[in-house]
């Protein structure tokens, strides 16, 4: 038995442990029915008159936010469900820009999922009746990656269309903060 054996075994053990705990690659392909689990209208950061009870973050945020297959499926849906028609590749157009750090209705993943499911005044359609909540969360995860929010090892490294914006793996992180612009 070589004297290297214990060290090699330790390295192999560590690597295995690291890989086995890699949630980043876990695929969630089945989901609960539409309408049951889509988040209730999660308000963007606003005044809570008289204060409010501390709210636990939505557990699904952890599941989808830095999940590579979710972001990948979100990219597939972003083009196919015509998000690209209104928001372009993040620059906006009929809809607001998604690659900047201004979010009218909140930039947390659960707030984005809520915007997609409920629709918003001034033109964002409601997708609740057309997409499962799993698909909506995946879209929300991809939308977050457009402004560089998730960790760089989970985002997509290539787009499947004309090269437009900076690749997500190089995008500088634009932390979400809610815009206070009224009306528009």
């Amino acid at each position: 038995m070589s004297s290297r054996f214990p060290a090699n075994a330790l390295l192999i053990g560590l690597a295995a442990a690291a890989l086995l705990s890699c949630d980043r690659e876990e695929r969630h392909s089945r989901s609960k029915p539409v309408g049951e689990t889509v988040p209730a209208a999660t308000s963007p950061d606003t005044i809570w008159p008289g204060g409010t009870m501390p709210q636990a973050p939505d557990p699904r945020a952890k599941v989808y936010d830095n999940n590579a297959p979710a972001i990948s499926e979100g990219q597939f849906l972003y083009t196919r469900m015509n998000c690209v028609g209104c928001h372009s590749h993040g620059g906006g157009g009929m809809g607001p820009a998604l690659i900047d750090d201004e979010w009218r209705y909140g930039g947390r993943i659960d707030q984005i999922a809520s915007s997609i499911a409920e629709g918003r005044p001034n033109g964002m359609p409601s997708w609740r009746s057309k997409l499962t909540d799993d698909q909506i969360w995946k879209l929300a995860a991809y939308v977050r990656s457009m402004s560089g929010q998730p960790s760089k090892d989970a985002v997509n490294s290539r787009s499947e269309s004309m090269s437009a914006t900076t690749p997500a793996t190089l995008m500088r992180r634009a932390p979400a903060h809610t815009s206070d612009t009224p009306d528009q």
Partner: protein, 341 residues
């Protein structure tokens, strides 16, 4: 110049084909001009190379045996290497001639096979655009009259004896079109249009599959090819042009509403209804196809229920989500889908 193959060659080929128990997904079939020519070529190569191989083995054995016999002095030590052994010389010449002839024969056979395949396919009379997606085949039949084009999925119908040119596109990653009974492989590469031309010769149903690893469900990306007589093919085309009728039965009517106004219409199209999406296969004549989801299961009511209820358990990772239909919604949707013949 076609190779007029005599019965023997074909017989060998068929015998070899008989080694497999089915002809619908076998490279040894004779269902198309290309495959037939290729098989003839294959047999010629096999025969010639076998003869050569046997000869080589024979010489090897002869050499070993001769060496064992005592008394044959070493030629070099003996100084007799300047003399040429007439037998050896003749043998060498014959061998050279044999090899040369064999190679020329193979070359001619190869060239002829290629030319005959090309000439059979030189004037295609039907044009089909096949777009591969993960993990299904999107098929459009092209026509000079654009109002006669049809869109279908996963099942190709071809007329016997008519050269057909299939344009090959991909929407995402590299796939490969392979129907062994009809033709060789041709890749579908995103950003590039390939094509393959084939001439089916025998009426029948054949199976093809994707032959280039394209993701988690590469194994469940089969293609059914139905070769019909010309009349049947035209009838099929006419039928495909018909839009789906609005159903009368109440359950199917409920299903119609759900399919055309609910989540199904975000990805699927049914001609004759407002649903016109192209993300997933066209469902207008879905129930008349032989399989569900590109060869995952044969078409049947029970399998339809299973697929619509939970596609992710049957083909995990594919883009059709498990919606989680209520039981009555499931009954309604399947009832409607079954009317889409």
């Amino acid at each position: 110049m076609r190779i007029r193959a005599g019965a023997p060659i074909l017989a060998v080929s068929v015998l070899l084909g008989g080694c497999t128990y089915q002809h619908y997904q076998s490279t040894f079939s004779d269902a198309a001009v290309e495959v037939r020519q290729f098989n003839i070529l294959f047999v010629i190569f096999l025969v010639i190379c076998t003869i050569m191989y046997v000869l080589v083995l024979a010489f090897l054995v002869a050499g070993i045996v001769r060496r064992r016999r005592a008394g044959i002095a070493n030629v070099i030590e003996d100084g007799r290497h300047h003399q040429s052994d007439p037998l050896m010389r003749t043998g060498l010449v014959v061998w050279g001639a044999l090899v040369g002839t064999g190679l020329i024969g193979l070359a001619i056979a190869s060239f002829s096979a290629d030319r005959s395949m090309a000439s059979a396919a030189s004037r295609p009379r039907l044009s089909i655009t096949l777009t591969a997606n993960q993990w299904w085949w999107d098929i459009t039949y092209n026509s000079a009259d654009s109002s006669k084009t049809i869109r279908t999925a996963n099942e190709l119908h071809l007329p016997v004896g008519v050269p057909v040119r299939i344009l090959l596109n991909s929407n995402d990653v590299i796939h490969s079109f392979w129907v062994p009974s009809l033709a060789g492989k041709q890749d579908l590469i995103p950003g590039r249009q390939n094509d393959i031309t084939l001439v089916p010769q025998k009426v029948g149903v054949y199976r093809g599959q994707c032959a280039e690893y394209c993701g988690a469900q590469h194994a469940k990306m089969a293609l059914v090819v139905d070769v019909d007589s010309y009349g049947d093919f035209l009838g099929w085309w006419e039928h495909q042009l018909q839009p789906a009728p609005t159903p009368a039965a109440p359950l199917a009517k409920m299903g119609y509403t759900y399919v055309t106004a609910g989540p199904c219409s975000a990805c699927h199209a049914v001609s004759g209804t407002p649903a016109s999406a192209i993300v997933g296969p066209d469902l207008t004549h879905f129930a008349s196809r032989r399989s569900i989801a590109a060869g995952v299961m044969p078409m049947s009511e029970g399998n339809l229920y299973g697929w619509v209820a939970d596609p992710q358990s049957l083909k995990p990772g594919n883009h059709m989500p498990t919606i989680g239909l209520e039981p009555d919604q499931l009954h309604a949707v399947v009832a409607y889908l079954e009317t889409l013949k």
